[in-house]
């Protein structure tokens, strides 16, 4: 029997998820009815619907779960959560698992939802406000310079329209406006991160 096999179906990974993943303590309460899997409007696009993810966690498939792109596919429609007869916060668990995988660096590279979320976050914490112009540009150019130019040209008409309607200020490219107390913001985020690290087992 391989090392992998003997470790399978032990509760180690289930305990890890329970401890480190947001709402992870709910995973053990799943009764495998499959209503979530049947209710997901994008279910066919997922490699593993929530029911399967929960079973994989119990089966100790740590690597497979954390490297899966399934939970990144969730669009937060909350259909599964409304229907779950055991009232598991499935949507939140999916996000929790995605975040945990990301923090561990196990999440699939270049996963679009993950890339967008990362750009959004990095943009936001710079000045405490989302700079729509730089965020859009960063999105256009995330797949390389040539693709970026193509994306920008495609969106040209929309951009001018937004400018005309005063919904987009080209001067924002210079840095844009910020929250008043930037030092305070930085301190707040640092504290939040510290708390999260402690909760999710990343504290040094």
């Amino acid at each position: 029997m391989s090392e992998q096999a003997t470790a399978r179906y032990t509760n180690d990974f289930l305990r890890e998820v329970e401890k480190n993943v947001e709402e992870g303590h709910w995973v053990k309460m799943c009764m495998q009815c499959g209503v979530c899997a049947g209710s997901c409007p994008l279910g066919s696009a997922w490699a593993h619907p929530p029911q399967e993810i929960f079973m994989m966690i119990r089966a100790g498939k740590r690597e497979e779960v954390l490297t899966s792109d399934s939970m990144w596919m969730c669009t937060s429609c909350y259909n599964c959560m409304v229907r779950c007869p055991r009232q598991l916060p499935i949507t939140h668990i999916m996000h929790g698992l995605a975040n945990y995988a990301h923090r561990l660096g196990l999440s699939p590279k270049g996963q679009p939802t993950q890339a967008t979320a990362t750009l959004f976050w990095n943009n936001l914490i710079k000045k405490g406000r989302v700079n729509e112009l730089t965020f859009s540009l960063a999105l256009y150019f995330k797949d390389g310079f040539v693709q970026g130019i193509k994306n920008a040209l495609n969106m040209q008409a929309v951009g001018f329209g937004l400018m005309k309607a005063k919904r987009l200020n080209p001067m924002e490219i210079l840095g844009g406006h910020a929250v008043k107390d930037q030092a305070g913001l930085k301190a707040m985020i640092a504290k939040a991160r510290e708390i999260e690290d402690r909760k999710k087992g990343f504290a040094k």
Partner: protein
């Protein structure tokens, strides 16, 4: 009783008077029915109507009455005249409510009402007031076989209700399997943790109760008699035999765990680390509060796997269905409880329940959730094998959610094997086959009945009882089954079951002491009377009685045990020489009704269809169809029968000879999932009617002229449809040529 004086009462209430001529009915009662007294009344069930009847009984010495009013199933409190014979012509539900209210149907509606009056008059003259079973006996002690939770509960309930109880237990102590348990699945809020079994307290109460006589280390050597007068020989360990006289018995002999040695593929016998659920209870008990150790080497237990449905629900091809085909019901919750033994002691131990369908009905769902909260994990998977692997076990299974084959290691494997009923001998197995058996079956009750030593079984070895309506009733009157001998069940259900059976046993001894029938004709005072001088010793009655009520004497004449009898009349239906009857229900009471109707001639276009309807289901369905004004053919005349099993083929022959165009027989569902109140009645009827075709052919009649239907009490829509379809068919076949000969 003194000379017969008859009276007919024609009610015109509830719209009867507006729809039919009660004057004409009265005339028929007098002229054709030969009733000595005939009265019409505007509302017979009111005070003055009832008083009129009472006065006639008292002052006019009326002994036989016919009420032409509503169905015999209603107004039974108003029309309660126990001192006279009474027939009731169903004019309301059976005629005016079942016929369309228009001029076109007026003539046929009147004909229907007239015929029912004729039938009532014909019936009542053949009836007698039942006097009650003369062989009544009034021993009110009750004997319980089995000292487990079910048996102890029954004994205690009856003792507390004031009935002296005898409890016979095979082993040396009370408690049964439940005494082996460390804890039980909880039966009280919040259904979260294993609970104390309470068995020791129950046993102490039973042992100390002044109304309970205990026989430990004892078995039943022989059971003889009938309700109210059972004589039970009890064989004691010393070899001595004592006899207890009792009025009723409860068999609470429980179950035996399915032998796990039949499951070598699941590691049974291959490793000491594979145990069944009771085996695990023993390990936990032996650990005495400490950590459970691995049996093979005393090593630490880090992971336990519970395998559900081990040797149960087995209908698979590969195993040729050689294990139990059914689900034992309690095992899922039991495994959750046992997993909690580990989790509550040490949450670091992994416990996994492997199931295909987790079945935890009712509050078991709360217990399941509690198990999950405690970290018991559940895997939907099918185990293919368990093998010894050093001091561990290798469990190979298919994960049914992830659809892959996996093998894992476990320190301890618990097999959830099922329950096998301790129901004694299967009396349906022929003796020559029993002789061939390696392990001879051992009887529990040792009944001194010609039909066999134990109670009949339905399937899978559980005692037969009416599963839906009367679960505690068995096919041996005065003997009730309770607990897992009846069907697989958990402790909570067994306690409920035992209480129900206790109440039934009390009812049985009370009814027996009054010479009355037990369920389902509870309170019936009539009983089978046999005219032995006409008997040909054919044994059909003794064989066909579903309740083993009839024995045989040395000359092979039937010996009726009236108090074992349920009064279904299956014997009466079976008797080829028609020597069996009841005082108020006989070949004649029905036969004369059949012969009494006015039979229109072959060219009248008015066929006559006889309905023989089971009074338990089909007849109420007909009444309810009337109540809901669901019209059906005016050519039918319905006669309620106690059970289709009581239908004697002479009625069919008489009807056809008398010019009836068709006969519809309506009884309950038969087969394994029967609904017949008398278990085998409808089956017997169907068997007998399968042979009626020959008679029909001999008479030169079409086989369609006799039809048998299964009708449930809920078939309110279907019954009128069946009637109308059949009437249509008779129209197609044409009128019977047998008219005018009778």
């Amino acid at each position: 009783m003194a000379e017969m004086k008859t009276a007919a009462y024609i009610c015109s209430g509830c719209g009867i008077g507006e729809r039919v001529s009660t004057a004409q009915m009265a005339k028929i009662a007098q002229k054709e029915g030969k009733m000595a007294l005939v009265r019409e009344h505007a509302c017979l069930c009111d005070e003055s109507g009832v008083q009129t009847i009472k006065d006639d009984i008292e002052k006019e010495a009326v002994t036989h009455i016919v009420l032409a009013a509503c169905s015999r199933r209603v107004k039974t409190e108003a029309f309660n005249f126990p001192t006279v014979a009474m027939a009731r012509a169903n004019i309301r539900e059976g005629v005016i409510w079942s016929q369309p209210e228009d001029a076109e149907h007026a003539e046929t509606t009147q004909e229907m009402a007239d015929d029912y009056v004729r039938m009532g008059c014909a019936e009542v003259k053949k009836m007698k007031v039942p006097e009650g079973n003369p062989n009544r006996a009034s021993n009110k002690r009750i004997l319980v076989v089995g000292g487990g939770v079910s048996g102890m509960t029954s004994a205690l309930e009856m003792a507390e209700a004031g009935y002296d109880t005898v409890l016979v237990e095979k082993s040396g102590a009370l408690g049964g399997w439940a005494a082996e348990l460390v804890k039980r699945v909880p039966s009280q809020q919040p259904y979260a943790d294993p609970a104390d079994t309470g068995v020791a307290e129950l046993a102490a109460k039973v042992a100390a109760h002044p109304r309970i006589a205990l026989h430990l280390n004892s078995t039943i050597a022989q059971t003889d008699g009938a309700p109210g007068r059972f004589s039970v020989s009890i064989a004691q360990e010393s070899g001595a035999t004592v006899t207890e006289e009792v009025g009723a018995l409860i068999q609470a002999t429980g179950f035996t765990p399915y032998d796990m040695m039949k499951l070598p593929e699941l590691g049974a016998g291959k490793s000491p680390n594979v145990v069944d659920q009771l085996g695990l209870e023993k390990l936990v008990k032996a650990a005495n509060g400490g950590a459970v150790k691995r049996p093979s080497d005393g090593g630490e237990v880090k992971r336990v796997v519970f395998i559900q449905c081990a040797g149960q629900r087995d209908e698979s091809q590969e195993t040729e269905g050689r294990h139990l085909p059914y689900c034992s019901g309690h095992c899922c919750a039991t495994s959750i409880k046992q997993a909690m033994y580990f989790k509550d002691a040490n949450p670091d131990i992994d416990t996994m329940v492997m199931y295909t369908d987790l079945r935890v009905p009712g509050t078991g769902e709360d217990f399941y959730r509690s198990g999950q909260q405690k970290g018991v994990t559940f895997t939907k998977g099918k185990t293919s094998s368990v093998e010894a692997a050093g001091n561990a076990c290798k469990v190979s299974f298919k994960d049914l959610i992830l659809n892959e084959d996996v093998a894992i290691e476990a320190d301890l494997v618990v097999l959830a094997t099922g329950m096998v009923a301790n129901s004694g001998m299967n009396i349906d197995i022929p003796e020559e086959e029993v002789e061939k058996m390696e392990v001879k079956p051992i009887s529990i009750l040792n009944l001194n009945y010609r039909q066999g030593k134990d109670m009949p079984q339905l399937k899978s070895g559980f005692t037969d009882s009416h599963f839906i309506c009367f679960p505690y009733e068995t096919r041996r009157t005065g003997i009730y089954a309770a607990g897992p001998v009846r069907r697989p069940m958990d402790m909570t259900q067994a306690i409920e079951d035992a209480t129900g059976a206790a109440m039934k046993a009390i009812q049985a001894v009370e009814n027996a002491s009054l010479g009355r029938a037990a369920h389902p004709r509870s309170g019936d005072l009539s009983y089978p009377i046999v005219r032995l001088e006409g008997c040909t010793q054919c044994k059909r009655c003794t064989v066909e009685c579903p309740f083993g009520a009839i024995d045989e004497d040395e000359k092979r004449f039937p010996v009726f045990n009236e108090s074992r009898c349920r009064r279904c009349g299956t014997c009466m239906g079976a008797c080829p020489v028609r020597v069996i009857s009841f005082e108020n229900y006989s070949v004649d009471t029905v036969g004369m009704q059949i012969k009494s109707v006015d039979m229109p001639d072959e060219f009248s276009e008015k066929p006559r269809i006889l309905i023989l309807a089971c009074e338990n289901d089909a007849y109420p369905a007909l009444d309810m169809a009337g109540l809901q004004r669901k019209a059906y053919s005016a050519f039918v005349r319905a006669i309620p029968v106690r059970c289709l099993g009581s239908v004697n083929t002479i009625w069919i022959t008489d009807a056809l000879n008398g010019g009836w165009d068709g006969v519809m027989m309506m009884g309950c569902k038969k087969g394994d999932d029967y609904q017949c109140h008398f278990v085998k009645g409808s089956e017997m009827a169907s068997y007998r009617m399968s042979k009626v075709d020959d008679t029909l052919k001999q008479m030169g009649l079409e086989t369609e002229r006799v039809a048998t239907y299964e009708v449930a009490i809920t078939d309110i829509e279907r019954v009128p449809q069946l009637i109308n379809d059949y009437a249509e068919k008779i129209k197609e076949i044409g009128m019977s040529p047998m008219k005018g000969f009778a």
